[in-house]
Protein backbone atom coordinates (compact mmCIF):
# COMPACT_ATOMS: atom_id res chain seq x y z
CA UNK A 1 0.00 0.00 0.00
CA UNK A 2 1.49 3.32 -1.10
CA UNK A 3 1.25 6.72 0.56
CA UNK A 4 2.38 10.05 -0.85
CA UNK A 5 4.00 13.25 0.34
CA UNK A 6 4.40 16.39 -1.77
CA UNK A 7 6.58 19.29 -0.62
CA UNK A 8 6.48 22.42 -2.77
CA UNK A 9 8.94 24.93 -1.38
CA UNK A 10 10.34 28.24 -2.56
CA UNK A 11 13.14 26.80 -4.71
CA UNK A 12 12.49 23.08 -5.16
CA UNK A 13 9.57 20.66 -5.10
CA UNK A 14 9.68 17.02 -4.03
CA UNK A 15 7.35 14.06 -4.15
CA UNK A 16 7.91 10.87 -2.16
CA UNK A 17 6.02 7.58 -2.14
CA UNK A 18 6.36 5.30 0.86
CA UNK A 19 5.44 1.70 1.37
CA UNK A 20 5.51 0.26 4.89
CA UNK A 21 7.28 3.41 6.07
CA UNK A 22 10.18 3.09 3.68
CA UNK A 23 10.81 5.11 0.57
CA UNK A 24 9.47 3.44 -2.57
CA UNK A 25 10.31 6.26 -5.01
CA UNK A 26 10.94 9.99 -5.03
CA UNK A 27 11.45 12.93 -7.35
CA UNK A 28 12.96 16.38 -6.79
CA UNK A 29 12.66 19.28 -9.26
CA UNK A 30 13.23 23.07 -9.32
CA UNK A 31 9.90 24.80 -8.63
CA UNK A 32 7.67 26.15 -11.39
CA UNK A 33 5.89 29.51 -11.01
CA UNK A 34 2.69 27.84 -9.85
CA UNK A 35 2.63 25.33 -6.93
CA UNK A 36 0.16 23.13 -8.79
CA UNK A 37 2.46 22.92 -11.79
CA UNK A 38 5.30 22.03 -9.44
CA UNK A 39 3.20 19.33 -7.80
CA UNK A 40 2.25 18.02 -11.24
CA UNK A 41 5.85 17.94 -12.38
CA UNK A 42 7.09 16.23 -9.22
CA UNK A 43 4.24 13.98 -8.14
CA UNK A 44 2.55 13.48 -11.53
CA UNK A 45 5.78 12.56 -13.27
CA UNK A 46 6.81 10.29 -10.43
CA UNK A 47 3.56 8.36 -10.75
CA UNK A 48 4.00 8.18 -14.50
CA UNK A 49 7.58 6.93 -14.23
CA UNK A 50 6.44 4.18 -11.87
CA UNK A 51 3.40 3.31 -13.99
CA UNK A 52 1.03 4.30 -11.20
CA UNK A 53 -2.25 6.22 -11.12
CA UNK A 54 -3.41 8.68 -8.47
CA UNK A 55 -5.93 6.13 -7.18
CA UNK A 56 -3.08 3.70 -6.48
CA UNK A 57 -1.92 6.03 -3.70
CA UNK A 58 -4.08 5.57 -0.63
CA UNK A 59 -3.56 8.97 0.98
CA UNK A 60 -1.48 12.02 0.09
CA UNK A 61 -0.39 14.90 2.31
CA UNK A 62 0.98 18.14 0.90
CA UNK A 63 3.40 20.45 2.68
CA UNK A 64 5.59 23.49 1.97
CA UNK A 65 4.40 26.86 0.70
CA UNK A 66 2.17 25.33 -1.95
CA UNK A 67 0.45 22.94 0.46
CA UNK A 68 -2.99 24.56 0.54
CA UNK A 69 -3.34 24.96 -3.21
CA UNK A 70 -2.37 21.33 -3.74
CA UNK A 71 -5.02 20.19 -1.29
CA UNK A 72 -7.61 22.58 -2.81
CA UNK A 73 -6.92 20.97 -6.21
CA UNK A 74 -7.51 17.56 -4.60
CA UNK A 75 -4.04 16.30 -5.50
CA UNK A 76 -3.59 15.82 -1.74
CA UNK A 77 -6.26 14.97 0.81
CA UNK A 78 -4.69 16.96 3.64
CA UNK A 79 -2.00 19.55 4.24
CA UNK A 80 0.45 19.70 7.13
CA UNK A 81 3.05 22.39 7.87
CA UNK A 82 6.60 21.67 6.71
CA UNK A 83 7.71 22.09 10.31
CA UNK A 84 5.82 18.97 11.42
CA UNK A 85 6.76 17.13 8.20
CA UNK A 86 10.52 17.73 8.53
CA UNK A 87 10.28 16.70 12.18
CA UNK A 88 8.46 13.50 11.34
CA UNK A 89 10.67 12.77 8.33
CA UNK A 90 13.91 13.08 10.30
CA UNK A 91 12.53 11.09 13.21
CA UNK A 92 11.32 8.31 10.93
CA UNK A 93 14.79 7.99 9.42
CA UNK A 94 16.59 7.90 12.78
CA UNK A 95 14.41 7.25 15.82
CA UNK A 96 16.88 8.92 18.23
CA UNK A 97 16.60 12.30 16.51
CA UNK A 98 15.09 15.01 18.74
CA UNK A 99 16.39 18.23 17.14
CA UNK A 100 16.15 19.04 13.44
CA UNK A 101 17.83 21.97 11.74
CA UNK A 102 16.00 22.53 8.49
CA UNK A 103 17.43 25.16 6.15
CA UNK A 104 15.52 25.64 2.96
CA UNK A 105 15.43 28.19 0.17
CA UNK A 106 13.86 31.05 2.07
CA UNK A 107 13.67 30.00 5.65
CA UNK A 108 15.51 28.27 8.44
CA UNK A 109 13.83 26.34 11.22
CA UNK A 110 14.93 24.54 14.32
CA UNK A 111 12.44 21.84 15.26
CA UNK A 112 12.20 19.68 18.37
CA UNK A 113 10.26 16.42 18.38
CA UNK A 114 9.36 13.86 21.03
CA UNK A 115 9.88 10.09 21.05
CA UNK A 116 6.98 9.66 18.63
CA UNK A 117 8.28 12.23 16.16
CA UNK A 118 5.62 14.74 17.14
CA UNK A 119 6.29 18.43 17.31
CA UNK A 120 7.33 19.76 20.73
CA UNK A 121 8.76 23.16 19.86
CA UNK A 122 10.07 25.12 16.89
CA UNK A 123 11.57 28.42 15.91
CA UNK A 124 11.72 29.95 12.47
CA UNK A 125 13.72 32.85 11.03
CA UNK A 126 12.08 36.23 10.52
CA UNK A 127 11.18 37.39 7.07
CA UNK A 128 14.71 38.37 6.06
CA UNK A 129 16.68 35.96 3.88
CA UNK A 130 19.83 35.89 6.04
CA UNK A 131 20.53 32.36 7.21
CA UNK A 132 18.65 30.69 4.36
CA UNK A 133 19.47 28.98 1.08
CA UNK A 134 18.72 32.20 -0.76
CA UNK A 135 21.62 33.87 1.07
CA UNK A 136 24.00 31.16 -0.13
CA UNK A 137 22.60 31.39 -3.65
CA UNK A 138 23.27 35.15 -3.82
CA UNK A 139 26.76 34.71 -2.35
CA UNK A 140 27.65 31.86 -4.74
CA UNK A 141 26.64 34.04 -7.68
CA UNK A 142 28.79 36.89 -6.38
CA UNK A 143 31.77 34.55 -6.05
CA UNK A 144 31.12 33.11 -9.52
CA UNK A 145 30.73 29.53 -8.32
CA UNK A 146 27.76 27.17 -8.29
CA UNK A 147 25.78 26.57 -5.14
CA UNK A 148 27.12 23.00 -5.03
CA UNK A 149 30.72 24.27 -5.14
CA UNK A 150 30.30 26.72 -2.25
CA UNK A 151 30.82 24.05 0.42
CA UNK A 152 33.70 22.08 -1.09
CA UNK A 153 35.81 25.10 -2.17
CA UNK A 154 35.75 26.55 1.33
CA UNK A 155 37.63 23.45 2.52
CA UNK A 156 40.73 24.96 0.85
CA UNK A 157 40.48 28.16 2.90
CA UNK A 158 43.54 29.36 4.85
CA UNK A 159 42.62 32.78 6.20
CA UNK A 160 38.86 33.55 5.99
CA UNK A 161 38.06 37.20 6.67
CA UNK A 162 35.47 38.22 9.28
CA UNK A 163 32.09 39.08 7.76
CA UNK A 164 30.74 42.11 9.57
CA UNK A 165 27.13 41.64 8.49
CA UNK A 166 24.67 38.81 8.00
CA UNK A 167 22.25 40.79 5.87
CA UNK A 168 22.22 39.29 2.34
CA UNK A 169 22.34 42.70 0.66
CA UNK A 170 25.18 44.13 2.76
CA UNK A 171 27.06 40.82 2.73
CA UNK A 172 27.08 40.88 -1.07
CA UNK A 173 28.66 44.36 -0.99
CA UNK A 174 31.18 43.14 1.57
CA UNK A 175 32.12 40.11 -0.54
CA UNK A 176 32.64 42.33 -3.60
CA UNK A 177 34.84 44.59 -1.48
CA UNK A 178 36.98 41.62 -0.35
CA UNK A 179 37.20 40.28 -3.92
CA UNK A 180 38.50 43.65 -5.07
CA UNK A 181 41.13 43.51 -2.32
CA UNK A 182 42.30 40.16 -3.66
CA UNK A 183 40.90 37.85 -0.99
CA UNK A 184 40.60 34.34 -2.44
CA UNK A 185 37.26 32.76 -3.31
CA UNK A 186 38.11 29.84 -1.02
CA UNK A 187 38.53 32.16 1.97
CA UNK A 188 35.39 34.09 1.13
CA UNK A 189 33.37 30.90 0.69
CA UNK A 190 34.51 29.82 4.16
CA UNK A 191 33.47 33.20 5.63
CA UNK A 192 30.07 33.00 3.96
CA UNK A 193 29.43 29.48 5.25
CA UNK A 194 30.54 30.41 8.75
CA UNK A 195 28.33 33.49 8.70
CA UNK A 196 25.42 31.30 7.64
CA UNK A 197 26.05 28.85 10.48
CA UNK A 198 26.26 31.69 13.03
CA UNK A 199 22.93 33.02 11.89
CA UNK A 200 21.31 29.61 12.28
CA UNK A 201 22.95 29.15 15.69
CA UNK A 202 21.02 32.19 16.90
CA UNK A 203 17.84 30.22 16.20
CA UNK A 204 19.22 27.02 17.74
CA UNK A 205 19.97 28.83 21.00
CA UNK A 206 16.34 29.94 21.26
CA UNK A 207 14.97 26.38 21.54
CA UNK A 208 18.05 24.55 22.80
CA UNK A 209 19.57 21.33 21.52
CA UNK A 210 18.63 17.80 22.45
CA UNK A 211 20.51 14.94 20.86
CA UNK A 212 20.45 13.45 18.31
CA UNK A 213 20.55 16.31 15.84
CA UNK A 214 19.83 16.01 12.12
CA UNK A 215 20.11 18.60 9.39
CA UNK A 216 17.49 18.66 6.61
CA UNK A 217 16.70 20.84 3.60
CA UNK A 218 18.90 21.87 0.70
CA UNK A 219 21.57 23.61 2.80
CA UNK A 220 22.29 20.31 4.58
CA UNK A 221 24.19 19.41 1.41
CA UNK A 222 26.71 22.18 2.11
CA UNK A 223 29.50 20.38 3.95
CA UNK A 224 31.07 23.59 5.28
CA UNK A 225 27.88 24.96 6.86
CA UNK A 226 27.28 21.55 8.37
CA UNK A 227 30.80 21.38 9.81
CA UNK A 228 30.57 24.91 11.21
CA UNK A 229 27.28 24.06 12.89
CA UNK A 230 28.71 20.87 14.38
CA UNK A 231 31.63 22.90 15.79
CA UNK A 232 29.30 25.47 17.33
CA UNK A 233 26.94 22.83 18.71
CA UNK A 234 29.76 20.60 19.82
CA UNK A 235 27.65 17.75 18.49
CA UNK A 236 28.20 15.44 15.57
CA UNK A 237 24.98 15.44 13.57
CA UNK A 238 23.47 12.15 12.42
CA UNK A 239 23.45 11.45 8.73
CA UNK A 240 20.10 11.16 7.00
CA UNK A 241 21.57 8.76 4.38
CA UNK A 242 19.06 10.11 1.87
CA UNK A 243 18.85 13.37 -0.05
CA UNK A 244 18.16 15.86 2.83
CA UNK A 245 15.94 17.89 0.52
CA UNK A 246 13.27 15.19 0.34
CA UNK A 247 12.89 14.74 4.11
CA UNK A 248 9.90 17.12 4.28
CA UNK A 249 8.03 15.21 1.56
CA UNK A 250 9.06 11.93 3.17
CA UNK A 251 7.68 13.15 6.52
CA UNK A 252 4.42 14.10 4.79
CA UNK A 253 4.18 10.59 3.30
CA UNK A 254 4.88 8.99 6.71
CA UNK A 255 2.16 11.17 8.24
CA UNK A 256 -0.18 10.07 5.41
CA UNK A 257 0.54 6.46 6.31
CA UNK A 258 -0.05 7.19 10.02
CA UNK A 259 -3.31 8.88 9.14
CA UNK A 260 -4.71 6.16 6.89
CA UNK A 261 -2.33 3.23 7.11
CA UNK A 262 -3.24 -0.12 8.52
Amino acid sequence: MLFGGIDVGSLTAQAVLVEDGTIYAYKSIPVRPNPLESAGAAFGNLLEEKGLKQEDIKYVISTGYGREKIQDAKVAQENVSEISCHGMGAFSLVKDVRTIIDIGGQDAKVIKVDDRGELVDFVMNDKCAAGTGRFLEVMAKTLGVTLDELGPISQGSRNPPEMSTRCSIYAETEVIHYLQRGVSREDLAASINRSMAERVMALVRRVGVEREVMMTGGVAKNIAVRTELEKSLNVRMVNARIDPQIIGAYGAAVLAQRERGA
Binding site: Y65, V80, S81, E82, I83, S84, D107, L119, V120, D121, F122, M124, D126, K127
Partner: protein
Protein backbone atom coordinates in the same frame (compact mmCIF):
# COMPACT_ATOMS: atom_id res chain seq x y z
CA UNK B 1 -16.96 29.22 9.17
CA UNK B 2 -20.38 30.57 9.98
CA UNK B 3 -23.39 32.08 8.27
CA UNK B 4 -23.40 35.84 7.94
CA UNK B 5 -26.55 37.85 8.58
CA UNK B 6 -27.39 41.23 7.12
CA UNK B 7 -26.09 43.20 10.10
CA UNK B 8 -22.74 41.41 10.10
CA UNK B 9 -22.51 41.87 6.32
CA UNK B 10 -23.04 45.59 6.83
CA UNK B 11 -20.44 45.73 9.62
CA UNK B 12 -17.84 43.91 7.52
CA UNK B 13 -18.50 46.07 4.45
CA UNK B 14 -18.30 49.35 6.38
CA UNK B 15 -15.32 48.30 8.47
CA UNK B 16 -13.29 47.67 5.32
CA UNK B 17 -13.46 51.37 4.39
CA UNK B 18 -11.50 54.15 6.04
CA UNK B 19 -14.18 56.69 5.14
CA UNK B 20 -17.26 54.56 5.66
CA UNK B 21 -20.77 55.51 4.52
CA UNK B 22 -21.70 56.80 7.98
CA UNK B 23 -18.74 59.18 7.99
CA UNK B 24 -19.69 60.36 4.48
CA UNK B 25 -23.26 61.01 5.65
CA UNK B 26 -22.00 62.84 8.75
CA UNK B 27 -19.77 65.07 6.65
CA UNK B 28 -22.52 65.71 4.08
CA UNK B 29 -24.56 67.18 6.94
CA UNK B 30 -21.78 69.70 7.52
CA UNK B 31 -20.58 68.09 10.76
CA UNK B 32 -16.96 67.72 11.87
CA UNK B 33 -14.75 64.69 12.54
CA UNK B 34 -11.79 64.52 14.94
CA UNK B 35 -9.11 61.85 14.56
CA UNK B 36 -7.36 60.14 17.48
CA UNK B 37 -5.42 56.91 17.83
CA UNK B 38 -4.82 55.86 21.40
CA UNK B 39 -7.16 53.82 23.50
CA UNK B 40 -6.51 56.32 26.31
CA UNK B 41 -8.28 59.17 24.47
CA UNK B 42 -11.67 59.79 26.12
CA UNK B 43 -13.76 59.93 22.95
CA UNK B 44 -16.84 60.84 25.02
CA UNK B 45 -15.63 64.47 25.21
CA UNK B 46 -15.42 64.69 21.40
CA UNK B 47 -18.86 63.17 20.95
CA UNK B 48 -20.31 65.48 23.62
CA UNK B 49 -19.08 68.42 21.54
CA UNK B 50 -21.26 67.21 18.66
CA UNK B 51 -18.22 65.98 16.72
CA UNK B 52 -17.52 62.47 15.47
CA UNK B 53 -14.55 60.83 17.22
CA UNK B 54 -12.74 58.69 14.65
CA UNK B 55 -10.08 56.23 15.74
CA UNK B 56 -7.36 56.35 13.12
CA UNK B 57 -6.54 53.01 11.51
CA UNK B 58 -4.55 51.73 8.53
CA UNK B 59 -6.52 48.52 7.80
CA UNK B 60 -3.39 46.66 6.71
CA UNK B 61 -2.23 49.32 4.24
CA UNK B 62 1.28 48.18 3.24
CA UNK B 63 2.37 51.40 1.49
CA UNK B 64 4.58 53.89 3.30
CA UNK B 65 6.46 55.75 0.53
CA UNK B 66 5.29 59.24 1.53
CA UNK B 67 5.48 58.52 5.24
CA UNK B 68 9.05 57.25 4.88
CA UNK B 69 10.14 60.75 3.93
CA UNK B 70 9.22 61.79 7.48
CA UNK B 71 9.59 58.70 9.65
CA UNK B 72 12.51 56.30 9.41
CA UNK B 73 12.31 52.63 8.41
CA UNK B 74 13.09 51.92 12.05
CA UNK B 75 9.79 53.37 13.15
CA UNK B 76 6.82 51.08 13.74
CA UNK B 77 5.22 50.25 10.38
CA UNK B 78 1.69 50.72 11.77
CA UNK B 79 2.50 54.36 12.52
CA UNK B 80 4.08 54.78 9.09
CA UNK B 81 1.04 53.22 7.41
CA UNK B 82 -1.32 55.58 9.25
CA UNK B 83 0.87 58.57 8.36
CA UNK B 84 0.89 57.49 4.72
CA UNK B 85 -2.91 57.55 4.64
CA UNK B 86 -2.83 60.95 6.34
CA UNK B 87 -0.50 62.33 3.69
CA UNK B 88 -1.99 60.67 0.60
CA UNK B 89 -5.44 62.20 1.10
CA UNK B 90 -7.29 59.17 2.47
CA UNK B 91 -7.95 61.04 5.72
CA UNK B 92 -8.99 64.33 4.10
CA UNK B 93 -12.33 64.08 5.90
CA UNK B 94 -10.68 64.80 9.28
CA UNK B 95 -11.13 68.29 10.72
CA UNK B 96 -8.42 67.96 13.34
CA UNK B 97 -6.25 65.60 15.34
CA UNK B 98 -5.91 64.67 18.99
CA UNK B 99 -2.33 63.64 19.60
CA UNK B 100 -1.48 61.52 22.62
CA UNK B 101 1.75 60.13 24.01
CA UNK B 102 1.00 56.42 23.54
CA UNK B 103 4.55 55.88 22.31
CA UNK B 104 7.23 57.94 20.58
CA UNK B 105 6.54 56.35 17.17
CA UNK B 106 2.94 57.45 17.40
CA UNK B 107 3.95 60.95 18.46
CA UNK B 108 6.24 61.10 15.44
CA UNK B 109 3.30 60.10 13.27
CA UNK B 110 1.03 62.83 14.65
CA UNK B 111 3.59 65.58 14.59
CA UNK B 112 4.74 64.87 11.03
CA UNK B 113 1.14 64.62 9.89
CA UNK B 114 0.45 68.02 11.45
CA UNK B 115 3.71 69.43 10.04
CA UNK B 116 2.61 68.57 6.50
CA UNK B 117 -1.16 69.03 6.66
CA UNK B 118 -1.32 71.92 9.16
CA UNK B 119 -4.71 71.17 10.66
CA UNK B 120 -6.30 74.25 12.19
CA UNK B 121 -7.21 72.15 15.19
CA UNK B 122 -4.49 70.02 16.73
CA UNK B 123 -4.46 69.19 20.43
CA UNK B 124 -1.91 67.21 22.39
CA UNK B 125 -3.50 65.22 25.22
CA UNK B 126 -0.74 64.27 27.64
CA UNK B 127 -1.47 61.09 29.57
CA UNK B 128 0.76 60.12 32.52
CA UNK B 129 2.72 56.88 32.33
CA UNK B 130 2.10 56.04 35.98
CA UNK B 131 -0.97 55.81 38.14
CA UNK B 132 -0.41 57.81 41.33
CA UNK B 133 -2.43 60.50 43.08
CA UNK B 134 -0.19 63.21 41.59
CA UNK B 135 -0.50 61.69 38.13
CA UNK B 136 -4.27 61.60 38.47
CA UNK B 137 -4.39 65.24 39.52
CA UNK B 138 -2.26 66.11 36.52
CA UNK B 139 -4.51 64.12 34.19
CA UNK B 140 -7.62 65.79 35.58
CA UNK B 141 -6.01 69.10 34.60
CA UNK B 142 -5.20 67.73 31.15
CA UNK B 143 -8.81 66.68 30.72
CA UNK B 144 -9.93 70.24 31.50
CA UNK B 145 -7.54 71.55 28.83
CA UNK B 146 -8.79 68.90 26.39
CA UNK B 147 -12.43 69.93 26.89
CA UNK B 148 -11.54 73.62 26.72
CA UNK B 149 -9.50 73.26 23.51
CA UNK B 150 -12.27 71.40 21.67
CA UNK B 151 -15.01 73.68 23.00
CA UNK B 152 -13.21 76.90 22.13
CA UNK B 153 -12.11 75.93 18.64
CA UNK B 154 -15.42 74.41 17.57
CA UNK B 155 -17.37 77.09 19.44
CA UNK B 156 -19.46 74.71 21.47
CA UNK B 157 -20.05 74.42 25.17
CA UNK B 158 -19.41 70.86 26.32
CA UNK B 159 -21.80 70.77 29.24
CA UNK B 160 -21.64 68.29 32.10
CA UNK B 161 -25.15 67.24 31.23
CA UNK B 162 -24.27 66.39 27.63
CA UNK B 163 -21.10 64.68 28.77
CA UNK B 164 -23.09 62.52 31.20
CA UNK B 165 -25.55 61.62 28.45
CA UNK B 166 -22.73 60.51 26.13
CA UNK B 167 -21.00 58.64 28.96
CA UNK B 168 -24.20 56.69 29.55
CA UNK B 169 -24.42 55.89 25.86
CA UNK B 170 -20.80 54.71 25.78
CA UNK B 171 -21.41 52.67 28.90
CA UNK B 172 -24.28 50.95 27.13
CA UNK B 173 -22.00 50.23 24.16
CA UNK B 174 -19.42 48.66 26.48
CA UNK B 175 -22.12 46.49 28.06
CA UNK B 176 -23.24 45.30 24.64
CA UNK B 177 -19.67 44.64 23.54
CA UNK B 178 -19.29 42.42 26.60
CA UNK B 179 -22.38 40.52 25.45
CA UNK B 180 -20.72 40.20 22.05
CA UNK B 181 -17.66 38.74 23.80
CA UNK B 182 -19.86 36.30 25.72
CA UNK B 183 -21.14 35.07 22.36
CA UNK B 184 -17.61 34.87 21.03
CA UNK B 185 -15.97 33.30 24.08
CA UNK B 186 -18.68 30.74 24.87
CA UNK B 187 -18.46 26.99 24.48
CA UNK B 188 -20.02 27.26 21.03
CA UNK B 189 -18.60 30.54 19.66
CA UNK B 190 -21.10 32.55 17.64
CA UNK B 191 -18.61 34.52 15.59
CA UNK B 192 -15.05 34.43 14.33
CA UNK B 193 -12.25 36.59 15.68
CA UNK B 194 -12.06 38.43 12.35
CA UNK B 195 -15.76 39.31 12.58
CA UNK B 196 -15.42 40.46 16.19
CA UNK B 197 -12.50 42.75 15.31
CA UNK B 198 -14.50 44.20 12.40
CA UNK B 199 -17.35 45.02 14.79
CA UNK B 200 -15.11 46.76 17.31
CA UNK B 201 -13.24 48.63 14.58
CA UNK B 202 -16.43 49.99 13.12
CA UNK B 203 -17.51 51.08 16.59
CA UNK B 204 -14.80 53.72 16.75
CA UNK B 205 -15.55 55.08 13.28
CA UNK B 206 -19.29 55.80 13.45
CA UNK B 207 -21.59 57.84 15.72
CA UNK B 208 -22.47 56.07 18.99
CA UNK B 209 -26.17 55.85 18.12
CA UNK B 210 -25.44 54.13 14.81
CA UNK B 211 -23.12 51.65 16.49
CA UNK B 212 -25.62 50.82 19.23
CA UNK B 213 -28.19 49.92 16.60
CA UNK B 214 -25.72 47.78 14.62
CA UNK B 215 -24.53 46.05 17.78
CA UNK B 216 -28.08 45.13 18.75
CA UNK B 217 -28.66 43.61 15.34
CA UNK B 218 -25.36 41.71 15.29
CA UNK B 219 -26.00 40.31 18.78
CA UNK B 220 -29.47 39.21 17.74
CA UNK B 221 -28.10 37.53 14.61
CA UNK B 222 -25.30 35.71 16.38
CA UNK B 223 -26.86 34.73 19.68
CA UNK B 224 -27.69 31.23 18.47
CA UNK B 225 -24.97 30.78 15.87
CA UNK B 226 -22.47 28.01 16.34
CA UNK B 227 -19.13 28.30 14.55
CA UNK B 228 -17.68 24.90 13.80
CA UNK B 229 -14.76 23.37 11.92
CA UNK B 230 -11.87 24.79 13.94
CA UNK B 231 -9.11 22.82 15.64
CA UNK B 232 -8.15 25.12 18.52
CA UNK B 233 -9.42 28.09 20.52
CA UNK B 234 -6.96 30.95 20.68
CA UNK B 235 -6.40 34.26 22.41
CA UNK B 236 -4.64 36.97 20.39
CA UNK B 237 -2.71 39.54 22.40
CA UNK B 238 -0.40 42.38 21.56
CA UNK B 239 0.13 45.54 19.66
CA UNK B 240 -2.07 47.84 17.63
CA UNK B 241 -3.60 45.22 15.36
CA UNK B 242 -6.42 46.51 13.19
CA UNK B 243 -5.72 43.91 10.49
CA UNK B 244 -8.89 41.87 10.12
CA UNK B 245 -7.19 39.93 7.30
CA UNK B 246 -4.39 38.88 9.64
CA UNK B 247 -6.90 37.23 11.98
CA UNK B 248 -8.70 35.75 8.98
CA UNK B 249 -5.42 34.06 7.96
CA UNK B 250 -4.94 32.64 11.46
CA UNK B 251 -8.48 31.32 11.35
CA UNK B 252 -8.07 29.90 7.83
CA UNK B 253 -5.67 27.28 9.21
CA UNK B 254 -8.07 26.32 12.00
CA UNK B 255 -7.21 28.56 14.95
CA UNK B 256 -10.41 30.30 16.05
CA UNK B 257 -9.57 33.53 17.86
CA UNK B 258 -12.22 33.36 20.58
CA UNK B 259 -10.92 36.28 22.61
CA UNK B 260 -8.20 38.90 22.57
CA UNK B 261 -6.23 41.45 24.52
CA UNK B 262 -5.64 43.82 21.63
CA UNK B 263 -5.51 47.57 21.64
CA UNK B 264 -8.08 47.68 18.83
CA UNK B 265 -9.94 44.80 20.47
CA UNK B 266 -11.12 44.17 24.02
CA UNK B 267 -8.69 46.62 25.63
CA UNK B 268 -10.57 49.40 23.85
CA UNK B 269 -13.75 48.89 25.88
CA UNK B 270 -13.14 46.55 28.79
CA UNK B 271 -12.45 49.42 31.19
CA UNK B 272 -14.18 49.16 34.51
CA UNK B 273 -16.94 51.69 34.93
CA UNK B 274 -16.44 54.09 37.78
CA UNK B 275 -19.38 55.45 39.69
CA UNK B 276 -19.72 58.01 42.45
CA UNK B 277 -17.95 60.97 40.83
CA UNK B 278 -20.16 64.00 40.60
CA UNK B 279 -17.95 65.74 38.06
CA UNK B 280 -18.23 63.78 34.77
CA UNK B 281 -14.85 64.97 33.51
CA UNK B 282 -13.17 63.73 36.70
CA UNK B 283 -15.06 60.47 36.41
CA UNK B 284 -13.73 60.06 32.87
CA UNK B 285 -10.18 60.86 33.97
CA UNK B 286 -10.34 58.15 36.63
CA UNK B 287 -12.04 55.66 34.35
CA UNK B 288 -9.42 55.97 31.64
CA UNK B 289 -6.21 56.31 33.62
CA UNK B 290 -7.05 53.74 36.29
CA UNK B 291 -7.99 51.11 33.72
CA UNK B 292 -5.44 51.71 31.02
CA UNK B 293 -4.28 48.25 30.01
CA UNK B 294 -1.39 49.29 27.82
CA UNK B 295 2.32 48.44 28.12
CA UNK B 296 3.13 52.17 27.81
CA UNK B 297 2.12 52.32 31.51
CA UNK B 298 5.01 51.87 33.94
CA UNK B 299 4.90 49.57 36.92
CA UNK B 300 1.61 48.02 35.87
CA UNK B 301 2.58 44.77 34.12
CA UNK B 302 0.73 42.60 36.63
CA UNK B 303 -2.62 44.22 35.82
CA UNK B 304 -2.05 43.42 32.15
CA UNK B 305 -0.99 39.87 32.94
CA UNK B 306 -4.03 39.31 35.14
CA UNK B 307 -6.27 40.75 32.45
CA UNK B 308 -4.90 38.29 29.89
CA UNK B 309 -5.09 35.35 32.30
CA UNK B 310 -8.71 36.22 33.11
CA UNK B 311 -9.57 36.22 29.39
CA UNK B 312 -7.70 32.91 28.94
CA UNK B 313 -9.77 31.32 31.65
CA UNK B 314 -13.08 32.93 30.61
CA UNK B 315 -12.70 31.81 26.99
CA UNK B 316 -11.13 28.44 27.83
CA UNK B 317 -8.38 28.83 25.22
CA UNK B 318 -6.01 26.12 24.00
CA UNK B 319 -3.20 28.51 23.13
CA UNK B 320 -2.11 32.12 22.85
CA UNK B 321 -0.63 34.10 19.98
CA UNK B 322 1.33 37.18 21.01
CA UNK B 323 1.94 39.58 18.17
CA UNK B 324 3.82 42.83 17.83
CA UNK B 325 5.01 44.95 14.95
CA UNK B 326 8.73 45.28 14.34
CA UNK B 327 10.24 48.16 16.34
CA UNK B 328 7.26 48.26 18.72
CA UNK B 329 9.33 48.54 21.89
CA UNK B 330 6.57 48.49 24.46
CA UNK B 331 4.74 45.41 23.21
CA UNK B 332 7.98 43.68 22.21
CA UNK B 333 9.20 43.81 25.81
CA UNK B 334 5.81 43.07 27.37
CA UNK B 335 5.23 40.03 25.16
CA UNK B 336 8.39 38.32 26.43
CA UNK B 337 7.23 38.52 30.04
CA UNK B 338 3.69 37.61 29.07
CA UNK B 339 4.90 34.53 27.20
CA UNK B 340 6.74 33.32 30.29
CA UNK B 341 3.70 33.90 32.50
CA UNK B 342 1.32 32.18 30.10
CA UNK B 343 3.64 29.19 29.82
CA UNK B 344 3.86 29.06 33.61
CA UNK B 345 0.09 28.66 33.49
CA UNK B 346 0.38 25.83 30.95
CA UNK B 347 -0.87 27.90 28.03
CA UNK B 348 1.19 27.20 24.88
CA UNK B 349 2.37 30.41 23.24
CA UNK B 350 3.34 31.43 19.72
CA UNK B 351 5.15 34.74 19.55
CA UNK B 352 5.05 36.61 16.24
CA UNK B 353 7.04 39.68 15.31
CA UNK B 354 5.85 41.05 12.01
CA UNK B 355 5.93 44.00 9.68
CA UNK B 356 2.54 45.72 9.63
CA UNK B 357 0.48 44.97 6.54
CA UNK B 358 3.25 43.04 4.77
CA UNK B 359 1.56 40.46 2.58
CA UNK B 360 4.94 38.92 1.68
CA UNK B 361 5.28 37.68 5.26
CA UNK B 362 1.86 36.06 5.36
CA UNK B 363 2.93 32.62 4.06
CA UNK B 364 5.57 32.32 6.74
CA UNK B 365 3.19 33.49 9.46
CA UNK B 366 0.59 30.95 8.35
CA UNK B 367 3.22 28.19 8.45
CA UNK B 368 4.10 29.13 12.03
CA UNK B 369 0.47 29.30 13.11
CA UNK B 370 -0.33 25.96 11.46
CA UNK B 371 2.71 24.31 13.07
CA UNK B 372 1.68 25.82 16.42
CA UNK B 373 -1.79 24.31 16.04
CA UNK B 374 -0.24 20.95 15.10
CA UNK B 375 1.97 21.21 18.19
CA UNK B 376 -0.87 21.89 20.60
CA UNK B 377 -2.89 19.07 19.05
Amino acid sequence: MGPRGKAMEEVIRQSEMIENDYVKKWKSEGKKVLGYTCVMTPAEVIEAAGLLPYRIRALGNPHTEMADAHLSRFNCSFCRSCLQLGLDGTYEFLDGLIESNGCDHLRGMFENWQYVKEFDFFHYLKVPHIMTRDAMEYFEGEMELYRKAIGEYFEVEITDRELLRVMEEYSLIRDKLRVLYEIREGENPGMTGAEALAVILLGSAVPAGVFLDLLDRVIEERRDTDISGYRARLILCGAATDEVDFIREIESVGGLVVTDALCYGSRAFWTVERGGEEDPLKALAHMYLENLLCPRMFDDYYSRRDYVLAAVSRANVDGAILVHNKFCDVHGVDNVQLRMDLEKNDIPVLQLEKEYGAKADLGRIKTRVQAFLEKIG
